[in-house]
């Protein structure tokens, strides 16, 4: 394994690990606060039980998310010092803002988790809301920084150096809004459906549990709207990518030749004529640039990007369909728990949002290669000169595998231990 590949792999493992906790850290406070608010208004103790259990789970997940996020902030330099040296002054701004947002999140999570008996009911609920808001803000700032790597703005490139720096213009880069929207919705869809899915599964075993019914309802209330809106955000994203990141679009669609009225490949050799032109430009005959538009050396790993993209779309579509189903049942005032097939559909959705998000990040990150900053700096030129990078890569991979196993086991025990299981 070359040092470059080891560095990329370590970054990939670190991101893939952290993203799960980031998604949960953004969305879980919303569920927690929702349950607490229902308890305060209805007085039903089941909601208090839910809020406290979710808070315990969030405590574990947030801690692992915080430390794995710290790893990433250092790894930007440890693995990619030339990238940070070049780009730090342009794109450090959203990271600095994220620092403050994360501070707010950590402070009020401490108040929320440990303050049940120490602060007033109102202050407790407000603390939870602040955790939810600052969590979403943190995520958005980090995604903005990533978006800049895809569509860098706010500087002039002179002899390999960035001059005329404008950090605000860099933050307002074209990919920032579609990416931030797409990722924020992903957090609510993935986490909401994960929670709903676990409780749907437990409801299948015990149909009368009011605990699981309420938990399922809150999970769907957060997850389903986000999953239904996600295809719209995805469309916005796709049209953005078509205009601003044509090589990535070509790789996602495995479109080798530039063509007008390009077909959409939906998998297993099936193609929708002119589908890609329609989706990407809302025009059936639009010209879509293929991979032939750039030299072979600047192609990303096309099969992997294409596969990742298709996996994301498939899983996201499944969540959206289940979300529509849930909305239909809710509108008809049907009891979710009485619908065995629906419960199974939700149970199957448990991991789908996380897998879709991972696949989406694979598509966008691998689709940007060989660039770390598109058109400015190649990944190979950003990597640290330090040799032997396979060692830290192996260490972090083992560490994260162990942590993932422990966290899964702890959460499993939390759920199994619940008196309602």
């Amino acid at each position: 394994m070359s040092d470059l590949l080891a560095a990329r792999s370590q970054m990939a493992v670190s991101l893939a690990f952290h993203i799960v906790f980031a998604l949960i850290g953004i969305a879980m406070p919303v569920l927690m606060v929702g349950a607490e608010r229902r308890w305060r208004t209805t007085g039903n103790p089941i909601y208090l039980d839910l809020a406290k259990r979710w808070a315990r789970g969030t405590a574990i997940l947030f801690a692992v998310g915080a430390v794995s996020g710290t790893v990433l902030s250092f790894e930007l330099g440890l693995l990619w010092p030339r990238f940070m040296e070049l780009a730090g002054s342009v794109i450090g701004m959203p990271f600095s803002l994220e620092g403050f947002a994360f501070f707010t999140e950590a402070i009020f999570l401490g108040v929320y988790l440990y303050g049940w008996e120490k602060v007033s009911p109102r202050a407790h609920l407000v603390a939870g809301v602040l955790v939810a808001v600052s969590g979403a803000a943190s995520g958005i700032f980090v995604v903005i920084a990533n978006a800049w790597m895809n569509t860098p703005t706010g500087f002039t490139l002179v002899d390999g150096r960035l001059t005329d720096i404008d950090p605000i213009a860099a933050m307002l880069n074209p990919a920032a809004f579609p990416q931030a929207l797409h990722m924020t919705l992903a957090a609510y869809a993935a986490t909401g459906f994960a929670v709903a899915g676990i409780h749907a599964f437990l409801l299948l075993k015990n149909r009368t549990s009011a605990f699981h019914r309420h938990a399922l309802a809150i999970g769907l209330l957060v997850g389903a709207p986000a999953a239904v809106l996600q295809p719209l955000a995805g469309d916005l994203m796709a049209r953005h990518v078509a205009r601003h990141q044509p090589v990535k679009l070509a790789a996602m669609e495995a479109l080798y030749e530039t063509q007008a009225g390009a077909p959409l490949k939906v998998g297993f050799g099936v193609e929708i004529p002119k589908g890609l032109s329609l989706l990407a430009f809302h025009d059936r005959d639009a010209v879509v640039r293929g991979l032939d538009a750039v030299p072979r050396a600047e192609w990303p790993n096309v099969p992997l990007v294409h596969l990742s993209f298709q996996v994301m779309v498939a899983l996201g579509s499944y969540l959206a369909l289940v979300g529509v189903w849930a909305a239909w049942l809710a509108w008809r005032k049907q009891d979710f728990a009485a619908r065995r097939r629906f419960l199974w559909a939700v149970a199957i959705a448990t991991p789908c949002g996380f897998l879709a998000t991972e696949a989406g990040w694979m598509a966008t990150e691998l689709g940007r290669q060989p660039w770390v900053i598109v058109g400015v700096l190649k990944t190979a030129d950003a990597v640290t000169p330090m040799p032997g990078l396979i060692v830290p890569f192996t260490v972090f991979t083992l560490l994260y595998c162990a942590l993932a196993a422990i966290v899964t086991w702890l959460l499993y025990r939390q759920i199994v231990r619940s008196p309602h299981a």
């Binding site: 790893v71 250092f74 720096i165 330090m386």
Partner: protein, 334 residues
């Protein structure tokens, strides 16, 4: 004072807060490891209660220092990350293990595993401060220089930090963190026996701070061009700073001796802060001695201005929130 100096100062403030707050959380872990005597279990419970609600917020000071460093001084960040790749990676592993194990212990539930997580938490709390101190020691000794293409692995990635002086600073950092934690815990303890336990530990750690400081002075590389530059750059009011540090240190001991714990907390925090600023001022105007100055490493003025604005607005939001956090969890007892 230039804008870049001001932002270097802001980073120092973040580091100072991290040392006083996050450092004490590491120190708590050290006392968990060294818990003994008839009140062993109660010592551990006290430490857990003291750290639980605040450690994540305290930890963010380090993240803030890092993001401000790479935004305002990107070339210094790159150089640090290359030369100190190994110790910083070890720090990260320590941070991951410390935080995860602490949370697993608090929320794990089962006695047998709690013991195991407690051990991981405590050992990581012992090792991480040493490595953080090693990184600071490597910077202070002027060993974090620009990579030359022909330098071998050892010269480039090992020699900057595997030296007596950085490890003396590592020991010193550990002693300071343990000292701060013990002093704070005298105020958090709810009965006299437990308070006496930590009073004794605070005095012991305070002595270790002196020993480690003396060792550091003994091992510092005075003959190197760095040492000369450091001395040359020393401001005329440096002796006053040393005097103040000495007064704070003596006051901390006297206050501990007389069981005036609030005064001891103020004196101990002042002592450690003054030592940190003494280092910063001794290096000035160098960010990474012997050659990289604050102004050379600084990002363009537009970035610095924006970050300063963000820091100002952030501080307005942050300080009341932090005040609230500490009032809720630390207010009733100290």
């Amino acid at each position: 004072m230039t804008l870049a100096d001001l932002l270097a100062g802001v980073i120092m403030v973040a580091l100072n807060a991290y040392v006083l707050l996050g450092g004490a959380d590491f120190g708590g872990g050290v006392w968990d490891l060294l818990a003994r005597g008839p009140r062993k279990a109660r010592q551990r419970v006290l430490i857990e209660h003291a750290i639980g609600p605040v450690w994540e917020a305290n930890h963010v000071w380090l993240i803030l220092a890092v993001v401000l460093l790479f935004t305002c001084f990107p070339s210094a960040f790159a150089r640090l990350a290359i030369a100190l790749h190994v110790p910083l990676t070890l720090v990260l592993i320590g941070i991951v293990l410390r935080g995860s194990a602490f949370t697993f212990r608090s929320y794990g539930g089962e006695q047998e595993q709690e013991k195991y997580w407690g051990r991981v938490f405590a050992v990581a709390s012992l090792v991480t401060p040493v490595l953080l101190g090693v990184a600071v020691g490597a910077v202070a000794s002027g060993a974090v220089t620009e990579l030359t293409p022909d330098s071998g692995f050892v010269a480039a990635y090992v020699a900057p930090w595997v030296a007596p002086f950085p490890f003396a600073v590592g020991l010193f950092a550990l002693a300071c963190f343990a000292f701060l934690a013990a002093v704070y815990l005298t105020l958090e303890a709810e009965d006299d026996d437990l308070r006496e336990d930590f009073r004794g530990r605070a005095i012991g750690a305070g002595v270790l701070v002196f020993v480690a400081a003396a060792l550091g002075l003994l091992l510092s590389p005075p003959a190197s061009p760095v040492g000369a530059k450091l001395v040359a750059a020393f401001p005329p009011w440096a002796p006053a700073l040393h005097l103040l540090t000495g007064i704070a240190a003596v006051s901390a001991f006297v206050a501990l001796w007389k069981r005036q714990y609030r005064a001891a907390r103020i004196a101990a925090a002042a002592q450690v802060s003054l030592i940190l600023w003494g280092w910063g001022i001794a290096q000035f105007p160098y960010l990474l001695p012997p050659d990289l100055t604050i102004s050379e490493a600084a990002a363009p003025a537009v970035t610095l201005r924006l970050v300063l604005g963000a820091v100002g607005i952030g501080a307005v939001l942050l300080f009341p929130s932090l005040y609230y956090l500490f009032k809720v969890f630390k207010g009733t007892r100290g």
